[in-house]
Amino acid sequence: MSENISRRDFLKLATVGAATTAVLTGCGPASRYIKREPYMEMPEYTYNGLSTYYATTCRECAAGCGLIVRTMQGRAIKVEGNSNNPVNLGKTCARGQATLHGLYNPDRVQGPLKRTRGTPFDLRTNVSVTWDEAVQVVADAINNNNPSEVAFLLGMAPDHLFDLVSDLANAIGAPAPIRYGALSMFEARATLIKASENLFGTAALPFFDIANSDLVLSFGANFLETWLSPVAYTRGFAKMRRGNPKRRGHFIQFESRISQTAAKADEWIPIRPGTESLVAAAIGRLVAEAKGGAVSEVFANVDLNEVLSSADIKLETLEHVAEMVGEAESAIVIPGGSALGLSNGLQTAETILTLNALADNFGKPGGVYLSPFLPNQDTYHRPASAQEMAEFIEKMKSGDVKVLFVHGVNPLFELPESLGFADALGSVQEVISFAVFPDETALASDYIFPDHHGLESWGYQRVATGTEQSVLSGAQPVVSPNYDTRATADVLLAASQALPFKDEMEFLQSKFASLVGQADDSFSAPEINTFTAYFQQHGGWWKKSSELVSPSATDTLGRNFAVEQAEFAGEGEFFFLPFVSPTLGEAGANKPWLQELPDPTTTVMWNTWVEMNPETAHELHIENDDVVKIISEAGEVEAPVYLYPAIRPDTIAMPFGQGHTAYGRYAAGRGANPAKLLGQHFNEAGDLAFAGMRVRIEKIEGKKQMLSRLESRIGVYNEGLEEH
C-alpha cells in the first residue's frame, strides 16, 4: 500500500503521531522534573530563590572598577558596576561583563600541576601534584637559591599581591617584583609618567578632567576604549557632552585611523604618523600668536610650512583648531597611545602638556591634574616599560635568574617576540606560573600552581587614575572556588615564612590598618575588623571629596626642547599601527562573549584583520578578505584585509588581542598577533616605539579568508551586488 500514499494521508498520519508523542511525553509534570542540589550548609543570609549580591573589584584590567556580582545559590550569574565606587559609578565595560566567562571557562587550570615545558596542555602530559607538594616546591625555590637569583614577574592587577611580593622580596633580599602588561605598553604609560615628572617634578599619572572641559583635543589617546581607565573616562566624556545643558563639549581626535574613540569625535584629523609633536607645537604657536605677547620658544621654533607638508594637514585646519583652543573656556589636550609609542614619544608628551600650559588649565576644572595617592601609598609603582623588560630579559639570558615566578601576565603573548622572552626562558632553571588559564607562558613553565579566578579572590586594587578622590577598590570572593586552586598570596606566605602573616586576610588587614579612622572617608570604622567588614560591604574604601593634586609647574612655557618628526624603523611603503582591540583587550580572547562582540568600527568578530584604505587596496589589486603577508624588520604575519575607508592610505592597522597559540579552546589558533612585527625600538622614556614601524605587504595570491562581520557586505562599496 505504500506505493501511492498521498501527501494528505501522510500529513494526517504524521499529525496523529505527533499528537500522540506530545501527549505521551510533553504535557505531564514529568517533563519538568529536574534535579536540584541544595546547599550542604546554607549561609545564614541566603534565602532560597532570592539572589545574593557581592561587591568586588574587576580584574579584567588594572583600572579597578567596582563590581556588584549577582549570585544565586552560590553561583555567580551576572556582573554589573558598583554604583557607589567612584571609578565607574555603576558602569562596566564589555570586558567587565564578560569576566563570568573567565570564571566558568572550561579551560581553566583546575589544580596544581607539574609539567614538561612546551608540551600542549593535555591530561596525558600534566602531572597533578598536591598543594602540600606545591608549597614545598615554592619553598625550595625561594630558600635553596641565592635571593638575588629569584625573580617575580607580576601583572598590573591585583595590587595587594604586588604589595605582598614587594614585602616578601624585601624580606628575603630578592630584587623587587617587576610588573608588566601589554595595555601599559600600548597606552605608553611610562612615557606619560616620565613627561609628568619632567614637567611637574612628580612621577604620577596625570588626570585629564574632560568632564568639565568644553574642548578636548586628543593625540592618539583611546580613552573610550582601553586607555588608563576607560570606564571613568567614558563617563567623563558623557558628562562633557551632556552634563552641562548650556554647552556641548567639542572633541577633536588626531589619529591616523578612526578608532572607536575617534568615531565619537566631532572632528577626526588624520595627520601623518610621527608628526604629532609638530602639529601640537604648530597649534601652540598659532594660539600663542593669537593671544599676543611672547610665544614660548618650543612653539616659536616650529616652521609652519614644514609642519603643513610633513604632517599632511591644511593650514585652514590648523588655524581652525587653534581658534577653537583660543576661544574655549577650558580646553584640554590629551597625549596617549600611538602618539607616544614613537621614537620621539616623550617629546610629543611634553609638547602636548606644554600646550595645556598655554591653555592655562593646570589644576583648574576641565584641565590637567595629578592623580592622588592613597594615604598609605608612597609612590606610583608603574608597570615596567618595554625597555625595562628588555633589560630583564637580558638578565634572564645571562643566567642571573634561576627561578622565575609569573603571575597575572602572559609575556610570551604580550611582549614583542623580538625581545626574545621565549629564548630567555630557556636560561631560567625553574619557571613557576600562578596562571588561572593555560596561557602561552604557563605552558612554558615547569609548574602551574593556579591562583583563584578574580571573582573567587580576596584583594584590593589601588585606583591609579580616573577619579577625583583616592580610591582603594576592594575584592572579595563572590563564590567559593570552583576548582582546586589556591590564592597565590597564601602559597607564598606558607612557603617562605619571611613575612609574619598567617594568611592573605591577615596581610590585607595589615595594609588596611593605616586607613582606619582617616578623615573624610567613605565609611568610618572604629577598628580593623569593622573596617574589613565595611570594606567588603562597600566594595572598597575611598575619600568622599576631591583630592586631585594641582601640578606644581614652574615656568612650563619657558622650557625649551627640540620638536622634531619621529623616526621610523624598517623599510616599506606603509606606516604600521597596532592598536589594542577595544573588545578583547590583551587577555579577553578566551571569552566567547568578547569574541562574539563585533569590533565597534569594523564589526569583525572572532578574528584578526588588517585595515587598509580602499584606494590603496585598489592600486594593489587587493579586495576584502584577501590574505596578505605583512613584513617588518622583526617578523611577518598573515591576516585577511578589511577595506577601511577611515584610515590614511599610507597606513595599515591591526588589532592586538588575537593570535594565541594556547590560552584555551576559544583563543588558541585564532587570528594573528601584531606584536610579532614589533622591533626593539624604544623612546626616551623606555616605552616601545610600537607605532614607529614601517612595513611592506605581499598579497598571497589566491588565498582568501572570509571575515565574519556584522555589517552587510552589500552597501559597502556595493560589494556582492551582482550576486543579489
Binding site: E3, P29, R32, R36, Y47, N48, G49
Partner: protein
C-alpha cells in the same frame, strides 16, 4: 489504494485488526499518560508522612516559603541536625538512612532531590504572597501527612490557579482584576 484499504477494513479480519490496533493504541496512550503522572525517583525515599506526622512544621524544612519565591529544599546539615542523634540513622535495617543519608554526609555531597510541584518557566510563582494571604501549605500541596514519597498533589495548571483566584476575589472587582491579570503571574 486508500479505497482498497477501506474495503479490507470493512471485512471481518479488518474489523478485528482495527479493534486490536485501537485497543493497543489506547492502552499505550494510557500507559504513557500514567507514566508522566508518576512521581520521580528520589535519591532517598524520604517519607513526608512520618516527618509531618511527628509534628515537624512544613516551614522548618522549607522556610523560604514564608520569605520569598521559593520554599527551598533543606540542606543536609538540617537533616543531620536531628538524625545524627538518632540510633535508627545508623541501623543497617534502614538502608535509606544508614547507607544513603550517611553516605551523602560522609562524602559531603549535596542530596540531588527532585522537586515535584513545579510550574513552567513562564510562570513567576512566588510563595510569599500566598502564605501572606493566609493560605496554608496543604491548600495547594495536599495533606502531606498521608503522602509517603513526595508526589505532585494535583495538576498545577492555570485553570486551577484561576479558580482559586476568582473564588478569593469574591465580588471585589478591584481584587478580581489584580488576581486575574495576565501580568500577575506572566511577566
Amino acid at each position: 489504494m486508500i479505497r482498497n484499504f477501506f474495503e479490507w477494513v470493512m471485512g471481518p479480519m479488518g474489523r478485528i485488526a482495527v479493534l486490536i490496533t485501537a485497543l493497543s493504541l489506547f492502552s499505550l496512550t494510557a500507559f504513557g499518560i500514567y507514566q508522566t503522572q508518576q512521581p520521580p525517583d528520589q535519591p532517598i525515599e524520604f517519607t513526608h508522612k512520618l516527618h509531618v506526622g511527628l509534628g515537624i512544621q512544613c516551614l522548618y524544612c522549607h522556610p523560604g516559603a514564608l520569605r520569598g519565591p521559593s520554599p527551598g529544599l533543606p540542606t543536609q546539615t538540617k537533616c543531620w541536625g536531628c538524625h545524627q542523634q538518632m540510633e535508627k540513622t545508623f541501623d543497617p535495617n534502614f538502608p535509606e538512612l544508614s547507607e544513603k543519608l550517611v553516605g551523602y554526609i560522609e562524602r559531603n555531597e549535596p542530596i540531588p532531590w527532585v522537586p515535584v510541584a513545579q510550574v513552567p518557566d513562564f510562570v513567576h510563582f512566588t510563595h510569599r504572597p500566598h502564605i501572606a494571604a493566609g493560605l496554608n501549605c496543604e491548600n495547594c500541596h495536599g495533606d502531606m501527612t498521608q503522602v509517603e514519597i513526595a508526589e505532585n498533589p494535583q495538576v498545577l495548571n492555570m485553570g486551577w490557579c484561576l479558580n482559586c483566584h476568582r473564588e478569593r476575589a469574591a465580588n471585589d472587582p478591584e481584587k478580581l482584576v489584580k488576581l486575574t491579570d495576565c501580568g500577575t503571574c506572566h511577566y
